[in-house]
Symmetry: D2
Subunit: 378 residues, 4 copies
């Protein structure tokens, strides 16, 4: 099967998430990276493209050039990955969508709600697909958890505890030139701090798995490190659909934590627990029964988990495979779109609607926090 032709905006030398997207796009062999505007610095863009073996005539100094150049080619890109800092998502995404090129965009959707609305408008007008890389939804055991809840195996959901704890910003490393820290703590580039960078992941994961709407939140955002310009810790109380309650905690000053995204959901008939750092396991406790350790690839998994599982149980799949699943799903959707076929309902990826939800969550947390943690309707 011919590979889909992919371009990339951002992800040049020194970036983190661009490299992740490239590996993710390669793992299942569905995409071929053929073009890039890899940096807003033209020299770095070209050097980065050379590193990646892109053809010189498809190495662009700006995304606008790439859009023009690729749109003019018979073999132009069919999809573009946007992996820039948050404030640089909306403009290119809207433009590529307008040109009918599918967009695979990193999260959060945008740095500001205004940008997000522009992007939403563009997406609404375009027939091209928009895929948001809330990559944690790509883990097989996350899919399993979602399927179990959808099948009623937990009964009525009562409690949702989600947290995303990191410690890498425990010191003011943004003041000492660490590139990732610098843009992620710059309000102009990132929009916010922990709330957007990881809080939206936690929110999305909880929404994806539980299926429950969050009705109201009360949030307190803090900045724990002197001189930091964005929030680095967020505590949120949740009121969910159907009377469920819960809490969300996102922190980048939880010293010693690496990437501790963890979800616990308790229902009237069962409970689930999943942790990103050991993603091949899912704890399930049925009412009045012992805990069971469900494992990726083992017997009894829901189809939703099995169809995104690559290798047998006990052979751990990791972050890159979970991320790759978003790309694999995107590829399936793009091919179905190209064929004018009805899309297989099993295909699952985060959409623009999920991104808008994340933006509304960020906004609501900001509003609540500025009102002394008053409840805000989502």
């Amino acid at each position: 099967m011919t590979k889909l032709r992919l371009g990339m905006v951002g992800g040049g030398q020194g970036a983190f998430i661009g490299g992740v997207h490239r590996i993710a796009a390669r793992i299942d062999g569905a995409f071929d990276l053929v073009a890039g505007a890899l940096s807003s610095n033209p020299d770095r863009a070209r050097a980065s493209a050379a590193d990646l073996g892109l053809a010189a005539d498809r190495s662009y100094g700006a995304w606008q050039d790439m859009l023009a150049g690729e749109a003019a080619r018979a073999d132009g890109i069919q999809a573009v990955a946007i992996v820039t800092p948050n404030h640089m998502h909306a403009a290119p995404a809207a433009a590529f969508l307008a040109a009918g090129i599918h967009v695979i965009c990193d999260k959060p959707l945008a740095a500001t709600m205004d940008d997000a609305l522009l992007l939403e408008a563009a997406a609404t007008k375009s027939k091209a697909l928009f895929i948001l890389t809330h990559n944690y939804t790509g883990y097989p055991m996350v899919r399993q958890a979602r399927a179990m809840i959808a099948a009623g195996e937990l009964g009525d959901i009562r409690l949702v505890q989600v947290e995303y704890a990191q410690g890498w910003l425990s010191e003011p490393i943004e003041q000492t030139g660490q590139k990732q820290a610098a843009w992620r703590t710059d309000p102009a580039q990132a929009g916010g701090g922990a709330i957007g960078d990881i809080g939206t992941h936690a929110f999305n994961l909880m929404r994806f798995v539980s299926g429950l709407q969050v009705q109201e939140i009360a949030a307190e955002m803090s900045s724990m490190v002197a001189g930091r310009r964005v929030d680095d810790n967020v505590q949120v109380m949740l009121r969910l659909q159907g009377g469920a309650r819960g809490a969300l905690w996102a922190s980048q000053v939880a010293l010693g934590e690496e990437n501790a995204l963890r979800l616990r959901i308790y229902g009237s008939k069962g409970a689930l627990e999943w942790a990103q750092e050991n993603p091949n396991q899912l704890w399930f406790t049925p009412l009045n029964g012992p805990r069971r350790l469900l494992t990726r690839g083992s017997g009894g998994m829901h189809d939703a988990a099995t169809r995104v599982t690559r290798i047998p149980a006990g052979h751990p799949e990791g972050y890159l495979e979970g991320f790759a699943t978003i790309y694999a799903e995107a590829a399936l959707a793009i091919r179905a779109h190209a064929a004018g076929a009805a899309r297989d309902p099993a295909i699952t990826y985060p959409t623009l609607a999920d991104g808008m939800e994340g933006m509304r969550f960020i906004a609501a947390c900001g509003k609540s926090s500025s009102q002394n943690a008053a409840w805000v309707t989502l």
Copy 2:
């Protein structure tokens, strides 16, 4: 060394915590249970006393009788353990204190603030000691955690996440005659639900280890099971001394959880994590270093941990030993008191002041929850 003579109020047949107190009092050999008013039902009181081998003339049908009887004996009890439901703590405790008999009382202090204040007044007037069995402070690794923070090994505390999750009330078992469930969900006997039964433990543990005052809380108390008359889930946001932030979660409808009391504290120089169900371990992560698994009885522990450690590393001490440490500390304090000696400052146990703090925490949560989770000063 002669054992201290102990009486007990409550703890008759069918009770849970009374048996725990008795084992705890025996483990280190410092107490001899010699008298009891083990039930408010005189027949059950006598039968329970016979089970325990108490002398017939020291088996009482009511605590008032025991107080009178024991006070009149030359070999009367020196201390009394009060292990009744919450609403039955204050009256006997105050009376025994008034008679100069030391009181070891289960938590929470009382079912109502009025009762707590009466007890506080009685304790203030008495020279006898009052010990509250917030037993989780007796675990050696909890003492280690406290000592590390006191020694500055975590730097400035930024975050405190504490939770106490149980699932045993996931169904309305109080409606089917389960005795423990019945009184613990009866507002008249318990005062409240999860907030008093386990929320106060979580609060006390966090206070004990961190040493930080909690300045304000915002709480939402819920009742998740139809027909339940008390809260069975509590979400609390915390504002602590020095700008620290945190969350407290206590639940008795977290299906599948047994007794999952867990504390995480993050500072500017280090972080700690401890979980009650595996209490011999304490995770410590220093800034920029790998996680270290500190274990009870191993080298390098603070004296505060070592002095309450009974057996070598790898030989797990459990809940009963932690509880026994409260009794062991009580015995040391009582002997020092009897000798008129200055008490060794190393002796550590929860006091009436801790109990009053817990009562104020309960009250504040109730007030906040009734005001739509508004912040309440503690």
Copy 3:
């Protein structure tokens, strides 16, 4: 119920296991320690007895004196705990048995096979009971494991992997005056090294849980630390009844391990795993099902586990409670014996036969190791 009167041989100041026996004897309130010959050094014996509050006239300088003194009293001891180094087990045990006093003896049975045979002869002649403190059989989840296998829940046993790893002898601390290390590495006092001190525990645990006879062993015993006079590492291959195979590993130079006794048993229908350092859990995997984490005190336990469980799930019982269960079982057996009653078949404790098995295991390992790990029939 009147407590049983207990004496103790050994366990004076500086000892480890004597203190453990005393706590174990106290936990369930069935014994009263009333006499002691706590050290072979008369002065230390008396000082130790004073520490424990023993009456002066029941504090003896030698076990022979205690035997004579107690046998002459109407209120003399009914049972004696023997907690001396291994070479001092047989003589007092045989003598107390001959006097009709029940014996609770630490393991291994003796330092030499000759001593063991003398003790066996004495026990055979006496009507008094002999209880060996292979304490790990007292853990509720060990009892659960045994009951599950007896009930056929694992099908035919195929594999038994047992290990007991410690690291405390990684350095030659016996040469620097550490008392526990000194006698435990002295061939004259201990008989052997790791093989007797912990290898017999591992062997006994595996036998107790699996119920399988060990038919042949091939062993290699090593001494890894310069100057050490006994084995500190033992590797054993096992051929068990019914074609099962397995391995036993005991080491005291496994640096960093504390008391890592761990048993895994695999059958045709299920598998179990238990680890002493987290003793309230038992992993069970049924054929084609997910792993289940069984916990002490939770629903669905076999009676054999429930009857030795003191407190609810999630409140960890530890080493001392497991040890106490041996004493509790001994008390039940002694009372039944005194009453001339048939003993409840549920009462379970390690016997002299278990001790003899352990001695034969030690001897077989020694023989095999001296024959280049040739197979030796057990």
Copy 4:
């Protein structure tokens, strides 16, 4: 950088490891799969090639055809992955080597020692490279462990405990048409059972990390399932260089185990533990210090680990990334070879010598087992 042109022998529809090799070859973008003889059944070979999008003229019905066809092309393959059952490794590997095409071969080296010797002879004569996919050596924390030992951080190695436990052959599924089980338990295709399939992995891992020669082994190989034609359980005692001792256990009837490869190494100054199912962690205990949990991507790692790490700590890399590292190392070595450059000594992959060691280990275990587990020199 231009990708290396890769062919594949085996790995057609229904295979497991072929798909793993293909993903591994893609992850780091260094190879392009351009040709295949994917099945010994020509129809299946063609269908499989079509699935993968191979050009029709590079889809071959037999490896001999592929060798001829590719050798004749200017753009012929530069390397070939051999992913057939074991008995089909040697012939194609030798032939491709003879043609100067680099070989990346699955393990074990061959089904018989004769085949292995033929292959060794071919490799010796060829200038082309031979890479054996003992993929577990590709995990960053395995590289870290090796580097720590090489740097002396464990002192003198005393004990090596390695095990590889699987349960998937607990029932005779080879008799019911399960394709993987069928060939892996067929002596003609596999050579042996657990010993070759997973025992060699365990052996190789232990050798790779410890650096110690194994001098003698005593082995017992068993077949636990009725009708099985190969060993499914292997117990081995080890005598290693410098007086170290250890054990190796490999089983495919350890019910409930998925892919539990686990290595523990104890030295005079420190100890390490690593488990494949949670591969981003490495436990390290220094003498007299607490356990430390080293994590992939965190600070303080050796260069040997860092250079094969793709993404930050807390973002788990898995089995496929570890496997991909073998391909990435192969690519570096092939490019250096092509350039006539001295190879960077940091490049590390399993070689033919490692494969020959594995074959000698298999042979020694067979010999020992047939001699009642007598010691056999390796």
